[in-house]
């Protein structure tokens, strides 16, 4: 039976861009413009349709993915906060710490102490944690959406 390739819906292209954010979050140069290119869309169109499709902006998605990965490293490693900041794609400790606190509610070091009390959570496979436990972004009108690198 011959296979026919049907045109992928826009959401499928957007999902590929979101997958790229999941896989390449550690690259500080990964930004909304790069993700838009992966979706074969202009930055403005990409940002608008991404939010319509997934309920949050691509900037928020990338930011919260980085924070989620930072939480995983805080939970399971002895890396310093500075090392984790760099490992998840931030280049400024101040920017990382501020974003972490705004998103999670407490500073990274405080969160690490709190979370260590719940060590059993670490037994949940990371693929499930990555899918379901990413923190939600706190709206911040100061964040520009269709911008370049988000890290300061």
């Amino acid at each position: 039976m011959a296979a026919t390739t049907t045109p992928a819906p826009l959401a499928r292209h957007l999902l590929r861009a979101r997958d790229a954010a999941d896989a390449e979050y550690a690259d500080p140069s990964l930004d909304v413009a790069t993700l838009a290119r992966r979706a074969h869309a202009s930055v403005a169109h990409f940002s608008r349709t991404f939010k319509e499709t997934f309920g949050e902006t691509p900037h928020q998605y990338l930011q919260t993915r980085r924070i989620e990965r930072a939480q995983e490293l805080l939970r399971l490693t002895e890396l310093t906060v500075s090392e984790i900041c760099l490992a998840v794609g931030y280049t400024s400790l101040g920017s990382f710490s501020a974003t972490f606190k705004r998103t999670v509610g407490v500073a990274p070091s405080v969160w690490r102490e709190q979370e260590r009390a719940y060590a059993l959570r670490a037994r949940i496979p990371s693929c499930f944690r990555r899918e379901w436990q990413r923190p939600r972004a706190v709206p911040d009108s100061r964040i520009r959406e269709a911008d370049g690198p988000e890290v300061g």
Binding site: A8, A26, E72, S126
Partner: protein, 135 residues
């Protein structure tokens, strides 16, 4: 659920290496199942066209394209080898093999957005340590 049954059947058999188990007219709609080689009695995947349920078709297609249909985990004896083999066939991986406390794990999607995990389960799960911590 799949976006196109012919395309899905080709992908699941030619790219993923599964075998067609059933392909039949079920009375106005097409029933197709595939399975890992030699395992049709244990686990099959139905390649269903969401148009069989017009009342939910639009929602299902939207969920599928947005990556909202997840949960299938395929166990393998060698995750890294399977990753290399499937990548060479053009399977779209979302994450490369990584070592976790439960084994070696990676993820991929079918052409329609359905997500799969490919896992080589560790014989005895180790305690989480920095050495087996995901990046």
């Amino acid at each position: 659920m799949v976006g196109d049954q012919d395309e899905a059947l080709a992908w699941y058999t030619e790219k993923l290496g599964f075998e067609k188990v059933v392909d039949m007219d079920a009375g106005g709609w097409r029933w197709i199942t595939v399975a890992a080689p030699g395992q049709a009695d244990e686990f099959t995947i139905s390649l269903i066209d969401p148009s069989v349920r017009p009342d939910v078709e639009a929602d299902v297609r939207s969920l599928m394209a947005r990556g909202g249909l997840n949960g299938v985990i395929i166990q393998t004896d060698d995750a890294r080898a399977a990753y290399e083999e499937l990548s060479a066939r053009g399977v779209e991986f979302t994450s490369e093999p990584e070592e976790f406390f439960y084994g070696i794990d990676c993820g991929f999607r079918d052409p329609f957005g359905n997500a799969f995990r490919l896992t080589q389960v560790a014989a005895v799960p180790a305690e989480p340590t920095p050495a087996n911590t995901p990046s």
